[in-house]
């Protein structure tokens, strides 16, 4: 590490993010600290799995044309990833504040990015507005691929977008419907009509899945 002491900027449930200096560059150090509640064997398995898979997915997302931070270093033993620091604003903080037209164009762009991920067989796994950063040039970076996976299955794509919908409903409930429609609009620009139709039907189905056994059996 350089002269700057790593500064904890976010303590999430899954990992802690530090702002640090590395070879004269400002970087983000993502550390997956051991979780005391999990038995160590399971804890190590989960942390190292995610530390290996996250950079791979981020790299592939980048190749697919979706802005993601550049990975500089992966230390599996320490469950630590060093990556580019993206300066900008969280979409979470932007979305409720900008004008209606800005909000919708933002969502269309997000939809396009999700479309690019999905058409390259990448599932983000945690599509919330806190995992999207808009830079001063207006690019939207996607971060936190820790729960992502490689899949082209309808179910995985449906769940991914369902999560986006749910995140909008819980955090941006006043605009959720319009925003999600805009996301779908962007998504439809990338994937073909037939696929989009199937994914939307899947999202409906996931939404209907009950928590009550009798209900599920009847279908």
């Amino acid at each position: 590490m350089g002269e700057m002491k790593p500064l904890l900027i976010k303590k999430g449930a899954e990992a802690s993010l530090y702002l640090a200096e590395w070879h004269d560059k400002k970087v983000i150090m993502k550390r997956r600290l051991p979780k005391k509640y999990r038995i160590s064997q399971l804890d190590e398995r989960i942390r190292s799995y995610r530390t290996i898979h996250e950079p791979q997915l981020m790299h592939e997302a980048r190749k697919a044309g979706v802005p993601t931070p550049i990975i500089f270093l992966v230390d599996v033993k320490q469950a630590t990833i060093i990556m580019e620091f993206i300066e900008g604003k969280l979409v979470k903080h932007l979305l409720d504040k900008v004008s209606e037209s800005k909000r919708l164009s933002l969502c269309v762009e997000i939809g396009e990015s999700i479309g690019r991920l999905h058409s390259s067989g990448i599932i983000h796994g945690d599509l919330t507005t806190s995992n999207m950063i808009q830079t001063s040039e207006g690019k939207i970076f996607l971060v936190d691929f820790g729960l992502g996976e490689k899949s082209k299955e309808l179910e995985a794509r449906g769940v991914d977008l369902h999560l986006m919908k749910r995140a909008l409903q819980s955090t941006h409930f006043r605009f959720a419907e319009g925003c999600f429609n805009a996301v779908v609009k962007g998504y439809s620009k990338i994937l073909d009509g037939e696929t989009v139709k199937n994914v939307l039907a899947k999202i409906e189905e996931i939404g209907r899945r009950g928590r009550y056994v009798s209900e599920r059996k009847r279908r």
């Binding site: 999430g12 449930a13 005391k36 509640y37 769940v159 819980s170 009798s214």
Partner: protein
């Protein structure tokens, strides 16, 4: 039981019948629970058969009501309000409870209030533990929900995408040939055996954002079980550690996201000591108070319906008979909660 001053002389009777329990509870208008009687339908084999459970509810209703009045030492004429769980749940079971509630309200000529079962679980949890604004993890045979209050409603932050964790445990227990014994449910045997296991098998750990999936875990565990290559204790241990780590991870996410200062654990699975210790650990890590709802009020019960009925009624909700149809798929986040500020 805590409560506001005054109105302790007005009583509400609540009827719960969403699944296999028929519960009758009574509470005063200031939140004192007078009685909480539960009659449970025991399936001879397999899971809950909705029609059989409903038949049980219909047969036990008058006896359970009578017992409740005797224990509470009040007369039907003393009631000022009837509340019932209007959903979500199994149709035949809900309809039986609703019919009893409608009949009582008409006969006594008192107002009727339909209550959302999930809201009731949160409200009785807050009443009995003193929690005021918690992140709630509700884990039962029918539900797996992480929720917290925001802008007038209990928002759902995470939930299962397929089966509930309690259902997952029950099915595994049945597959393993574990039966309810001496009043202990089969799930308690899974917990006991898990405590004697030590080896960890790799099982699907499926967290999607704040949502969860248990069907893959169930399938993989049952497959290992039928291969008969591992000790049942180790399998219970692996199954439980995996399932509960998933629950704890999403609860911690919701806690980090909402920055609330309390965590409320409730539902039938909340009785599991291992789950309690895991949720307690993350609560402490985020400087939040850990609250676990006492078993009597964590399981489906009538007292929670009565108390939530009081809250709804005193904030302007009544359910006329013609609008008292049951709502099988009534979501938690569809309900306006005017009594929380």
């Amino acid at each position: 039981m805590k409560g506001k001053k005054g109105d302790g002389g007005r009583y509400c009777l609540g009827i719960e019948s969403t699944a296999d329990d028929f519960g009758v509870g009574m509470s005063t208008f200031n939140g004192e629970v007078l009685v909480n009687v539960i009659s449970t339908y025991a399936a001879e084999e397999g899971g809950i058969h909705p029609r059989e459970a409903a038949r049980h509810h219909a047969e036990t209703a008058s006896k359970t009501l009578k017992e409740a009045f005797t224990k509470a030492e009040i007369k039907p004429g003393d009631l000022a309000l009837i509340a019932f769980s209007q959903g979500p749940g199994m149709g035949p079971c809900l309809r039986t409870g609703a019919t009893v509630a409608r009949a009582l309200a008409s006969y006594l000529n008192v107002p009727l209030v339909g209550v959302n079962h999930l809201v009731a679980h949160i409200e009785i949890g807050k009443l009995t533990t003193g929690a005021e604004d918690p992140v709630t993890l509700f884990v039962s045979g029918g539900s797996t929900i992480v929720s917290a209050f925001d802008a007038g409603r209990y928002r759902i932050f995470g939930e299962t995408l397929d089966i509930a964790v309690g259902n997952c445990i029950d099915v595994f227990a049945r597959e393993a040939g574990l039966r309810s014994r001496e009043g202990l449910p089969a799930a308690a045997t899974v917990e006991k055996l898990a405590g004697q296991g030590g080896k960890l098998f790799s099982l699907p750990y499926t967290v999607k954002g704040m949502d969860l999936s248990f069907s893959g875990l169930l399938t993989a565990t049952v497959r290992l079980l039928h291969e008969r290559k591992c000790r049942l204790e180790d399998l219970c241990h692996s199954f439980q550690e995996t399932a509960f780590s998933m629950l704890t991870e999403v609860t911690e996410r919701a806690l980090a996201h909402t920055e609330k200062k309390e965590v409320l654990l409730t539902g039938g699975v909340a009785a599991n000591k291992r789950l309690q210790s895991m949720i307690k650990a993350i609560a402490e890590e985020h400087y939040a108070k850990f609250c676990v709802v006492p078993k009597e009020f964590a399981l489906d019960n009538g007292a929670m319906i009565a108390w939530t009925g009081v809250l709804a009624y005193t904030h302007g909700t009544v359910t006329p008979i013609e609008r008292s149809f049951v709502k099988l798929r009534w979501r938690l986040d569809e309900v306006e909660i005017p009594w929380v500020k």
